[in-house]
Assembly symmetry: none
Homo-oligomer: 252 residues x 2
Amino acid sequence: MDRSIQEIARLVGTTSRTLRHYDDIGLLPPSRVGGNGYRYYDDDTLVRLQRILLLRDLGLGLPAIADVLDREEDAEHALRSHLEWLHREQDRLARQIASVERTIDALEGGERLMAEQMFDGFDHTAYREEVEERWGKDAYAKGDAWWRSMSDDEKAAWQRRAAALGGDWIAAHERGIDPAGDEAQALAQRHFEWLRAIPGTPGGGEDGPTKEYFLGLAEMYVADERFGANYGGREGAEFVRDAMTVYAERRL
Amino acid sequence: MDRSIQEIARLVGTTSRTLRHYDDIGLLPPSRVGGNGYRYYDDDTLVRLQRILLLRDLGLGLPAIADVLDREEDAEHALRSHLEWLHREQDRLARQIASVERTIDALEGGERLMAEQMFDGFDHTAYREEVEERWGKDAYAKGDAWWRSMSDDEKAAWQRRAAALGGDWIAAHERGIDPAGDEAQALAQRHFEWLRAIPGTPGGGEDGPTKEYFLGLAEMYVADERFGANYGGREGAEFVRDAMTVYAERRL
DNA sequence: CTTGACCTTGACGCAGCGTCAACCTCTACC
DNA sequence: GGTAGAGGTTGACGCTGCGTCAAGGTCAAG
């Protein structure tokens, strides 16, 4: 009872191209091949095909399917590890959804991405990697833990402080003062003191941030618009960076 | 202020290969190309790169990113349609997970009616009165009709999904993570998505449950031990409630 | 014998780069 | 000024699972 490739395809709801592909990779050779090259399938191959499609619908890859079917590789085990995969994917998607929604909120909120994004954003920018790479794995973790450890009131206070500092930077920039001048340097000093309060910063605590960290941060303000937004956008951030750079060169 | 390709790559935590790819497809041409063919990048291109990577992390494809950046194609709109994508993907994954679990159960000869007891749809049994009292007569009726409309297989799948979610909550709690942290919040997100699938929930359907409903449910898990049992008892339920509360405050 | 449906074997395309390969270029040190 | 080593360049293949032509044989029916 051999059937042609099209018959089989229609029977199980797939295409002949797929069947030829499965033949090509050795997953499902036809039961017989005519002298003309035509592929023919009997009931056994049909059963095998149905198993293949079942596993495929579960999301398994073709090599994994081959393992399960051919080597009688414990199907349950294969499915369990596949299940972990699916769960991780789902979590990843959930996090992405959260990020996208947050970004949309920020977009429609415009300026509202101020302080909240300021630190929360650390999670999602590539700077996390940079922070970890440059100043060690625990630098990020410490900062993060510190932030999470605060009460809502403390967080709010911190954000107000950050907003005030940002506002003063913006005002200074708008007055067109010299980044290397006294006023701007006084702001840079405040910025330094402010950072000193974060336990996670490299060189944080009594001594305050290191020169490298301080300079890296300054660049970050320019490079990342979400940070830059705290200082009046691109040009404001450049002003802050310039002032911070001068400060770092003179004092750190 | 030009930097080499490697410097830029390290700065943002990617590879030079990626940058050359972005150049190839016209997504991010270098600001300058030396006579030797070397690519150099200035601050502006760095900013653009940051944006690219941000959008990429949100899951957008490179062409979509180009649209957003170049044609000033309304970023919010792009993100919203991307969000729909993500939701559909999540649903697909949820269904696959349910199928895989069902298959595993079938494999181990599982004839567990425990699942039936595990979660009989929360609008059932004794909750009828409370549901009606809080969210109106038809809330219960809708949920009930929805539940009855499902086939046995669908019911079983639903219960397994509930069981999986409960298991993940328990595992998360046992690992001692922060209810406000990313992982717990990702679970809360899943919980939200899961509820969204129930037509009877106030605010159910596209928008998902309302904040009030979500918070009320969270409290119910703690207050009623029959619910709490799904999340590892009293303490587990408190963990779930805390995470859900944080989620609701932040997102709903 | 012609027509049309069905079959065959290539081979490119897609998404986003990783990973050689073969070959310049710049910097530093002796 | 020679040499090593780090870093740069342009190809080009690989991966997943087929969709989609392209060019050309085969078979049943009229």
